[in-house]
Structures are given as C-alpha cells and as structure tokens.
C-alpha cells in the first residue's frame, strides 16, 4: 500500500466551515508535504513540515505532524468554494523519492 494514506477519501462541507484531512504513513520520514490539485491540473505545493517540527501555518492552512503516530493533518479554516480540489500528502524519507497518497477530494459548497 502507499506510504501516505489520506483520510477521508472524500469530504463535502459548507463554505465557511473548517475542513480537516489526515495522512498516515508507515516509515520514518525526513519531511512531509501537502499538495493541492484542481481538477485535471498539476499539483501545487501547500506546506512542507520537517520531522522535527510539530505544527506549521500558512494563511488559512494549519498542518500538524505527530511522528510517534506517523500521522499528519491538514486543516483549512473558513473554507471557500475555491478550496474545492484534491489534497495529497507526500513523504520523503531522506532520499530522492517522494511517496504520495491517493488523496482526499474536498468539495466546498457555496
């Protein structure tokens, strides 16, 4: 199975609500990254969090990392219709490779 596994697979919320999605992984990591993908497009980088960090913020995004549980969460606050996209986590274990999960499809209803 994939190193990074997102949960839930799909999420539907109303505009203004918060959206939380989770990522679990299996082996030790150097860093974990979150990406957004709009339908039919390439991935856009959101946040990178290193293994010695516990929390990072970027605008309306908050990422946490719990290396003891091998999990990360992405919180989007005050969601907007434009946040509708698929969200992927990717782990890097200190090599050239990045391992992506299968993504969470977020739909924000206006």
């Amino acid at each position: 199975s994939q190193q990074g596994e997102e949960d839930p697979q799909a999420l539907s919320i109303q505009e203004g609500e918060n959206a939380t999605m989770n990522c679990s992984y299996k082996t030790s990591i150097n860093n974990l990254q979150w990406y957004r993908q709009n339908s039919g497009r390439g991935l856009v980088h959101l946040i990178l969090i290193r293994s010695n960090e516990r929390e990072k913020h970027s605008g309306r995004l908050r990422v946490t990392l719990d290396t003891s549980k091998k999990s990360s969460s992405l919180l989007i606050t005050a969601s907007r219709a434009a946040d509708t996209a698929s969200y992927f986590c990717a782990t890097n274990s200190g090599t050239y490779k990045y391992i992506f999960g299968t993504g969470t499809r977020l739909k924000v209803l206006a």
Binding site: G42, L48, Y96
Partner: protein, 111 residues
C-alpha cells in the same frame, strides 16, 4: 517563481506509436521526476533523474524510458504505446529533499 512546463496538455496516439513527453524547468533543479496518475491509484513514480544523464527507475518503469541530456529538460519516452498507458502524466522538479514543483500535466490517450 519556479516554472515547469510540459510539451502538451492533451495527446492522442495510436497503439504501437513511439511517444515523447517533454518537460522543462527553469529553476536549475538537480532532480526531475515523471509520475503517472490514475483514478484510485494516486501518483506513481515512473522514473527520476538526479543529474544530467543520470536516471533511476521508480515504481513502474516498464514500458517507459527517459532521457536527460540537459539539466533543465527531462523527457519521458513510451517506446511502443499501449492502451494501458492511457493516463495523466505529471512532471516535477525539486532540490534534494525539497518541495516538488509540478507541471500542468499531459493527458495521454492511446487508442
């Protein structure tokens, strides 16, 4: 801003054709990657390159080859296209252990 471009957004080819997908990045990144993305399977790494003329197989290299003659350009080659290679192909570049920057993707259909 980093820019990664891919030669085509949409491509339709016939079974048995040789297909070239080109990727160019403008940020002097050492590392470049080719992924394919299929529904329910996420992104799967086909090949990556960590320097000019250097390449490593990813998780699904069968049926593909790559070429990196210049640092900014990484090409994916389908030697003899088959219908099971119909997919979205994504190119990315990065510094070591850094953020990956993706191109817009090429949706390839093999008939």
């Amino acid at each position: 801003d980093v820019k990664v471009t891919q030669s085509s957004r949409y491509l339709v080819k016939r079974t048995g054709e040789k297909v070239f997908l080109e990727c160019v990045q403008d940020m002097d990144h050492e590392n470049m990657f080719w992924y394919r993305q299929d529904p329910g399977l996420g992104l799967r790494l086909i090949y990556f390159s960590y320097d000019v003329k250097m390449k490593e197989k990813g998780d699904i290299p069968e049926g593909y080859s790559v070429s990196r003659e210049k640092k900014e350009r990484f090409s994916l080659i389908l030697e003899s296209a088959s219908t099971n290679q119909t997919s979205m192909y994504l190119c990315a570049s990065s510094l070591l252990l850094g953020t990956q920057y993706f191109g817009p993707g090429t949706r390839l259909t093999v008939l």
